[in-house]
Amino acid sequence: MASTPTVADIGTDYATRYGFRDPEEYFLRSPKGLSHEVVEMISRLKKEPEWMREFRHKALEIFLAKPMPTWGDTAMLAEIDFDEITYYVRATEKQEKSWDDVPDNVKRTFDRLGIPEAERKFLAGVSAQYESEVVYHSVKEELTKQGVIFLDMDSGLREHEQLVREHFATVIPAADNKFAALNSAVWSGGSFIYVPKNTEVAIPLQAYFRINAERMGQFERTLIIADEGSKVHYIEGCTAPVYSTHSLHSAVVELIAKRGARIRYTTIQNWANNIYNLVTKRAVAFEDAVVEWVDGNIGSKLTMKYPAIFLRGERAHGEVLSIAFAGPGQHQDAGAKAVHLAPNTTSKITSKSISKGTGRSSYRGLVKVRKGAHGCRTAVQCDALLIGEKARTDTYPTMEIAEDQVRIEHEARVSKLGDEQLFYLRSRGLTEDQARLMIVNGFIEPFVKELPMEYAVELNRLIELEMEGSVG
């Protein structure tokens, strides 16, 4: 029994398990704080085309002009000191081509995360982001043969400028929100994926991200274009080490699913509990396209993330399946948006959250149906599980329906990990800890079963619930 982690332990031994960190050895880092000089420096170092340089500067203007959000956890947001953040850090001089060339300290970090092994086993291509620059990136021959482009965003811009220019920031313009503007100004790294027409990428494409510099923001930028009739599954997982001062992570992810294409984007994020995770994720789905966001958020100080799907073509379908775990002192403000712009489009939002101790989770969702988008169907389900008397959950659903011929379902449920459930399971011989684990595992099961096996295992490890033994 002694070795079975209890629910109370979740996250407590984070420092020893995931908090290893390497001494910072950087060839280059920008001075603290944000300015046109910093933006200029980033763009010049990357030898970017003029249009991108201008885009960054314009985005910085927008960022400076936009007020902080007046909704969400404004108290926590107010604690971010933008002048104390380093906006660009480069770990190594140039892009590494093979694992052998990766510097030892970087490799050690990946070793501890099990990256090489995972890569050997079944990664099609690993784009492991260490700090702001992608240092290791391999794409299997198979993908190249298929004409699939899987690069870090910087290389994508260099090697496929026209393709990037045509789509970049079309889904999430710099002016979308303050943090999208920030990302647009200082973005670095992230993934660029293009899947040609009628091409199916059989193996999930995976990237691993890490933040390793104190008070350093990480602003990756991901753009996935699935051309007509293509299919791709992209997985990102994050594990950040523990730090005493706040780090800011503000990514922008844009997905474009053209006619009949299918994109699934799976995220498992486990941030140290001092990190601000303010992410803008949005997809457009054209005629008959399907986009699925599978989004798991564990850790961080504050997460604000609402994966969105704009259903622009007839019969397009969008799904958001998310889970958030808010431990003591954490706030998971997560949700989803489904915007029905075309007739007969469908969407499904399933949001599950667990709040433990003083943890707080919020569901913030938007379902919008434009006039003329008849025959739409949408189903929203929010389940919140509270562990402990101080745990908190709130639901902020917004529905803007401008069309009569639609079917809308909304269901919200709050349950407490309660005495009756515990008593029932304990009366069958399970200890209190085993019973709690079983209830929590059951609660996240609908999410876990959507993950590839190794990620399901990873998730369980991340939230330190040992399925085996307690569930059998």
Binding site: E420, L422, F423, L425, G429, I439, G442
Partner: protein, 256 residues
């Protein structure tokens, strides 16, 4: 069936408070190996509180002696009692979404038997017991009590009884909400759980389950107490006359 060896279950002077309110007001009960007892009483008499309290419901304050096969279990937690061989079939089993009947059962069986049971062996046993209870094997993959009908929940309780093989079991209103066919199946299951070594207490409002599961001892429970104890004929008398005629007895024994 009766044997004269030492009791499989005993309790004495059991009082149960829910908050300020005393619901069970002094209960003595002795169950010998091989015996089936019925505790019958009207709604609100406190018989469910007695069953839950004996198992160790966390919201109930229980006083008095409780012994399982001679061992003092009064201070034990519900899971300790379960691992000692005590069982409660719930009147209203709660749902545990996301946990399949099979994975739950396997965890429970492993906990109670004190060793991880191999998957194949477990499945074989579970499917055999499910067949006994005329349950669709697909049931094993459903989430525990989640969206189950009343009858399905009761069958799953009995399935647990058969898998966990307790020494002593309390069955709380297991007959309620069952149609006659389901009642017969459940009764068959209960009878299958009885042996020379086990003791069983059926807590029920109606006599109808007792047509299929023959009790050796019948207790009438009213106002938080056992007011009368007799043989199987007492159950029939209750069926005919109801509980009202016992009111004076309850009042008399209640005068403290």
């Amino acid at each position: 069936m009766k044997s004269s060896s030492k009791p499989v279950f005993e309790c004495a002077g059991v009082h149960i408070h829910i908050g300020e309110k005393e619901v069970v007001k002094g209960v003595d009960l002795t169950v010998l190996p091989g015996e089936i007892h019925a505790i019958m009483g009207p709604n609100g008499s406190g018989k469910s509180t007695l069953a839950n309290g004996l198992m160790g419901h966390p919201a109930y304050a229980v006083e008095g002696a409780i012994r399982l096969a001679g061992e003092d279990v009064a201070a034990m937690t519900p899971d300790e009692k379960a691992r000692k061989g005590m069982f409660l079939a719930f009147q209203y089993p709660v749902a545990v979404p996301g946990v399949t009947v099979a994975s739950f059962l396997r965890a429970a069986v492993s906990a109670v038997r004190g060793a991880e049971i191999p998957v194949r062996e477990f499945r074989k046993e579970m499917l055999a017991r499910m067949e006994d209870l005329e349950m669709d094997p697909a049931f094993a993959g459903r989430y525990l009590n989640d969206g189950f009908s009343g009858g399905e929940k009761k069958r799953v309780e009995i399935l647990q009884l058969l898998m966990l093989k307790p020494r002593f079991a309390l069955l709380d209103e297991t007959d309620s909400g069952l149609d006659i066919d389901a009642l017969k199946v459940v009764a068959k299951g209960i009878n299958g759980a009885v042996s020379r070594e086990t003791g069983l207490v059926l807590v029920t409002h109606y006599q109808r389950l007792l047509n299929y599961v023959q009790p050796h001892v019948v207790h009438v429970f009213m106002g938080g107490r056992i007011v009368r104890t007799g043989g199987p004929e007492l159950a029939l008398e209750l069926e005919e006359r109801g509980y009202d005629w016992l009111e004076p007895v309850a009042a008399a024994t209640g005068g403290a």
